[in-house]
Structure formats: C-alpha cells, structure tokens
C-alpha cells in the first residue's frame, strides 16, 4: 500500500523532475539547433578542437545510413578500447589494489554491456576493477553510450518533425551532447554527491583497525562520485561496487538516494517536452509524456500492492518505500542500478520491473526511451487508421506500409532476442552452472537476465555468479542486438520521413487525450501480452505460490 511517506517522496520527487525536465528541454532545443547562442563563446572552441582532432567536417549533413554507420563505427571502436583495457588492466597504471586482468569472456561482456548503455555486471567492481578501468572503461563508456543514445533520439526527432534536410551529423550531435550536456551536468552532480558524502579519491583502498580491539575494515574509496553521476544521468546503471547504489559509499543517505533517483529521471523526462518544442506543438509532446508517465504510474501501483517491510536485502537508511520506488524507477527508465537486493522483493515488484523493461518507453533510457514511444505511436496510428478506414498519418505526413513494417521489426526484435536465449538456456541446462533449477523462481531469474540485457537495463539477479562463458557471450550478443537493431530501424523510419511532404490538415489527431488513452492501451496490449505466457510461469506463478519473501 502507498503510505504517507511513500506519497511524500513521490510528490516531491516528481515535482522537481518534471520542472527540471521542462527547463532542461528549452536548453536542449538550443544545443541541437544550428542557431548561435551565447554559450558558443565557451563551448565553441572546445567543440572545434574536438572536430579538428577527430577529423570531423561539422557541416556535413547525414542521411539515415551515414548516421547509422557513424553510430555503429564509433561504438564498435569504443567497445574495442574498453575490451582491451580490461583484458590488460593488471599491467596498466592506477591499479593500487592489484586487480588482475579480466578473462576474455568477461572483458567482452563488460565492453558490450557498457557500450550498449546496459551495464549488466558479471563482476564485482569493488574487487575486480582497477581505478584505471573504473575511469577509462566504465565512466568512459557510460558517457559515450549516453551521448550516443541522446544523439540518436534527437536524429529521430528531426526525422519525424521534418524541418531539416537530413538527420543532422552524428559526430556533431555526439560532441555537443558531451560538451554541452553530459559533462557539465555530471560535473555539477558529482560535486553535489561528494558534498553529501560520496567519496572521490585515487589513494587506494585503506585498511583501518576498527573500534573494537582485533577488528579491521577496508575502506574502498575511489573515483566513486564521478561514476555515480554519469551512471544515473546517462541511465547507465552500472555501479562502482557489486552492491551498486545499496553500498553506503555510493549512496550514503536518503537525500543522496532521492537525488540520484531524480538525476536518473531528468533527461528522459525532458525529451518529450523537447519533441514538442522542436515541432512547435507542445501538445504532441504532451501525448508522449502523458503516455509514458501513465504506464510508469501503473508500474508503481502494481509494485506498491503488497506491503513491503524493511527486510533482508534492504538498507535501513532508505526504508522499504524508497527501495521499491527505486527498483520500479530503475527499470522504467531502463537504468538498472539498484539500492537493494532484487531477491528482497515481492514477486509483484519484480513483475512491475519486467513491465518497464518490456515496454522500454516508460519513459525509458536516455534518447532511446522516446524513440520506442515514437515506435508505438507509429504502430498505434496504423492500427487506429485501419479501424477508422483512413490512411494513417502522423504529424501531417503519411505513414507508409514500409514505416509500419519497420516499426514492427523493431518491436518484434525485443521478444525474439529475449525468449529464444531464455529457452535455449533451459534446453541445454546452462542455468545449473549458476545454481538454478527448473522452477518458477529460477525461470524468473533467467528471463529477467535476458530481458534486462535486451532492454539495455542491466539490473540482474545473477551478478558475478553470471560470469560463465555461456552467459557472458550470450548476454553480450543480446545486449548489442537489443541496442542497435531498434536504433537502425528507427533511424531508417526517420530518414525516410524527413523529406516527406507535410499536409496542413490531419486525418487523425494525435495531440488529444483520447489518442493518448488509445496509445496507452495499445502499448499495454502489444507489449505485455507478447510476454504474458512467460511472465505467467515466472513472477506471476511465484506470487501465486505465495513466496512472499521473494526468491
């Protein structure tokens, strides 16, 4: 049940996030337009230096194919850098704790995971990574994958709004995202986190004698605040430690807890507003924000049905309400950081988590959440068009058969890359290697693993137990397919639409609350029913079996 304290958190938190998102969207509009702004004097020289060092022609306009090629090439190179740095981290500098080289399969999994904005972690960062890896692999890829996601989202907005010739220039969007959005925001939030108690040092791990004679403890300080800031702002979710945001060094108090949650929600919340601003029609943005937040609230309601008490696997300083709130939000925004152990929760909380990762647009991850919502809009416009017997149109332009086919490919890729590996895992008995059997609880954990990988979420039950060649390679592949198939397809749709003729009158209005309601129902039916049989033998069965205290 929603208690007074839960209601209080939710009202204060959403109030600040919605206001912050609204304000940020007006700034983002300037970041991604070609018009000159006052901030050019500060950021312009930095960007020109990057274009010069990178050999980028910033005036080149890209179609969807060139844009996609650049996205794939850059992310492949970045993943490769991360892979090599992890493979040889033992001999690299900034390793005072002597973390050994990572195995090839774990390096591969980690590089694919962070470059795809997933942050599934089959290792325990506190012991398995050097400072160099925490910075030059983890934080590096958290920045670049977030910048990629946001750039792609903007390119798709440009395609659908149809006010430009092409989709923009990926390298320009990426550079401006880093220079004008992510680095400044992360810098400010990192300093706030340090002020509130999150460590930031490079002095190595220190062992202290504790208060009681004979006792000792190790304080694993490191560049934690700078990691937590981009992990949350960029909807990454991969924590410094295995326990993620439950570890008191990454999340020392309720205030840091609410702050970290808020910065996770900030950018995805601002994007529907930005879409409205780019179109010059805020009501179209309203459709997207209302639909995504409505689905998110349904998630929250499901999760708060069972009364959750502070129990095993939760941290006292956050309390039960904040732990449930975080878990639902981290899946709804496909971030994947956790402030409690998933096994602490009632199966209904886990079910709510599944909904977030299945839909991926509630509001979803940075840039791509809005992309998935537009995919649902195109499918809904088509369905409604069929029912009304009219040509489907969106934003004053026709939706072709090829657009709908592409949107359906993007949509169907999600269940395919989740359900096939889940079934293969049980068919070959790979779940035994991570200590699981063949019951609803084990099924839930494996289904969750691949759903989280495909949705680029990254929260999981397995943790470092998942470090087997089979799970490292299979989830690695799923993470990249889950990231780049929908991006490719949606860029194609946007590229095809950008030059299409726009009409003044619209057959079907998409800026009304009636359409928003239809959209919500359509998403629920499309996404949830696809997975229903699998959810039924996973978390729903667990709930019915009465495993009240989780798994």
């Amino acid at each position: 049940m929603i208690t007074t304290s839960a209601a209080f958190i939710i009202v204060v938190e959403f109030g600040s996030v919605l206001i912050g998102g609204w304000l940020l969207s007006s700034y983002l509009l300037k970041v991604y337009s070609t018009k000159r702004t006052r901030l050019d004097r500060i950021f312009g020289p930095i960007e020109r230096t990057i274009y010069y060092l990178g050999g980028v022609n910033p005036y080149e306009e890209m179609g969807w194919k060139a844009y996609l090629r650049s996205v794939l090439a850059l992310n492949a190179v970045e993943a490769a850098i991360g892979f090599v740095l992890l493979l040889y981290q033992g001999s690299l500098p900034l390793n005072p704790m002597h973390a050994p080289d990572m195995s090839w399969s774990l390096s591969l999994n980690t590089a694919l995971s962070f470059s795809s904005n997933t942050n599934l972690q089959h290792y325990n960062g506190g012991s398995a990574l050097s400072y160099m890896s925490q910075m030059a692999v983890i934080q590096f890829l958290q920045f670049t994958s977030a910048a990629t996601g946001l750039s792609v989202g903007i390119a798709i907005f440009r395609g659908l709004t149809g006010k430009t010739k092409g989709l923009g220039n990926f390298y320009v969007d990426y550079t401006r995202t880093l220079v004008r959005v992510l680095i400044p925001l992360s810098g400010v939030t990192a300093l706030i986190l340090i002020f509130l108690g999150v460590p930031q040092s490079l002095n190595g791990y220190t062992i202290f004698k504790t208060l009681e004679i004979g006792g000792s403890e190790i304080v694993k300080s490191g560049p934690i605040a700078s990691l937590v800031s981009i992990m949350q702002l960029g909807t990454n979710g991969g924590g410094y430690f295995g326990a993620n945001a439950a570890n008191p060094l990454t999340n020392p108090s309720q205030i840091t807890n609410l702050f970290e949650l808020a910065i996770m929600m900030l950018i995805p919340t601002s994007l529907p507003f930005l879409f409205g601003r780019m179109l010059g029609r805020m009501k179209e943005g309203r459709t997207i924000i209302v639909a995504s937040y409505s689905l998110y609230f349904i998630d929250l309601l499901i999760a708060f049905i069972p009364i959750t008490h502070i129990g095993q696997g939760m941290e006292v300083r956050f309390g039960a309400a904040s732990s449930v709130f975080w878990t639902v939000t981290t899946t709804a925004f496909t971030t994947g950081s956790l402030n409690a152990n998933l096994s602490a929760f009632n199966p209904l909380v886990i079910l709510a988590g599944f909904f977030g990762m299945i839909i991926q647009a509630t509001p979803g991850g940075i840039g791509v959440g809005a992309m998935y919502m537009l995919m649902y809009v195109i499918m809904t416009v088509f369905i409604v068009g069929l029912m009304a017997g009219r040509t489907p149109e969106y934003l004053g332009t026709k939706i072709n058969a090829s657009d709908v086919k592409l949107a359906i490919i993007a949509f169907l890729s999600h269940p395919i890359i989740i359900l096939i590996p889940t079934v293969i895992t049980f068919a070959i008995g790979a779940q035994v290697a991570v200590g699981l059997g063949t019951n609803s609880l084990s099924f839930t954990q494996i289904l969750y693993e691949y759903t989280s990988a495909a949705a680029n979420n990254g929260s999981d039950f397995l943790g470092s137990a998942g470090n087997t060649v089979y799970f490292n390679v299979s989830t690695g592949i799923v993470m990249w397919l889950g990231r780049f198939i929908p991006i490719a397809v949606m860029l194609a749709i946007a590229g095809n639409m950008v030059q299409r003729k726009r009409y003044a009158s619209e057959a079907l209005r998409t800026d009304t609350l009636a359409f928003t309601a239809v959209l919500i129902v359509a998403i629920f039916i499309l996404a949830v029913l696809t997975f229903f049989p699998f959810l039924a033998i996973g978390p729903i069965l667990s709930y019915l079996e009465g495993f009240k205290n989780g798994f």
Partner: protein
C-alpha cells in the same frame, strides 16, 4: 562538401572521448574534491582517541556483547544503521551484560536517532555512533575491548 573519413574519424573521436571522459573528467573532479571537500572525498573517516577507526558509512563488526551489533543481512553487507526498534531490543541485553542503566542507553538512542525521510519514515541509528558514545562514557567497561 568534404566528407568525414569514415575509417579514421571513429578511431580519432573514440580516443578523444577516452581522454576527455575517462581521464580528464574523473581527474578534474577528484582534484576539486580533494581540495575543497577532503573529509567526504576520502570516505568520511572518523577518529577515536586520536586514531582513525574507519568510515562512518560502513558497518563494523562487534564481538563483545556489550556493544550494539549491526545487521548482517542487508543488500550491501555494509549497512551501518539499525532501526530504533532493533536498537531498543539490543539495549536491554547490553544493560544485562554491562550494567549500564536503561535510561542512559535509551537517551543515547534518542540522541542519535535519524529518520529515513527527514521527519518521518523509519527511525534509525548508526551503530558506530552508539558504540563510540558508550566507549567514551564508560571507559571502565569498554577500555579492555576498544582500541
């Protein structure tokens, strides 16, 4: 219009990003933190009798039954806090072991109580705060057990 070279551009941009995001960013943040907020930046270390005894953010183990005990089932395994309810239950045991009055134990619990949500939510206390207080006020009992 000159096209960006599709082979070298991704490599060069990736290297620039690596230096900017993976080295410069955490480096600059660390420098500012160490200069401006050294206490927090180094893990909120605390002292007892002029020796550093670790971080106030991390739970410590206590074997002597005259100390308050942290919980060991939480998500991080490092949870430094217990609920007030739990502390009050432990207080009567500590009273039996050490003879310290219940009134005093209740008063330090009350003094150190924090709330999960500013003014409401679950009330909790930091275990180390309680134990440092006990060791300072009852050296006759705790000196044998503490550093």
């Amino acid at each position: 219009m000159k096209k960006s070279n599709s082979l070298t551009v991704p490599i060069r941009i990736a290297l620039v990003s690596l230096v900017a995001c993976g080295i410069l960013f955490p480096g600059v943040v660390t420098s500012i933190a160490q200069l401006a907020m050294p206490v927090q930046a180094n893990g909120s270390l605390i002292s007892f009798h002029n020796t550093t005894i670790g971080s106030s953010l991390i739970a410590q183990d206590f074997n002597y039954s005259g100390f308050f005990q942290p919980r060991n089932d939480s998500a991080s395994g490092l949870d430094p806090d217990i609920t007030v309810q739990n502390a009050t239950q432990q207080a009567s045991k500590i009273h039996n072991v050490t003879g310290i009055s219940m009134a005093y134990l209740d008063s330090i619990i009350k003094e150190n109580t924090k709330y999960t949500l500013f003014f409401f939510g679950t009330a909790y206390v930091n275990v180390l705060d309680l134990n440092i207080n006990l060791a300072e006020h009852y050296p006759a009992i705790y000196d044998r057990y503490s550093v």
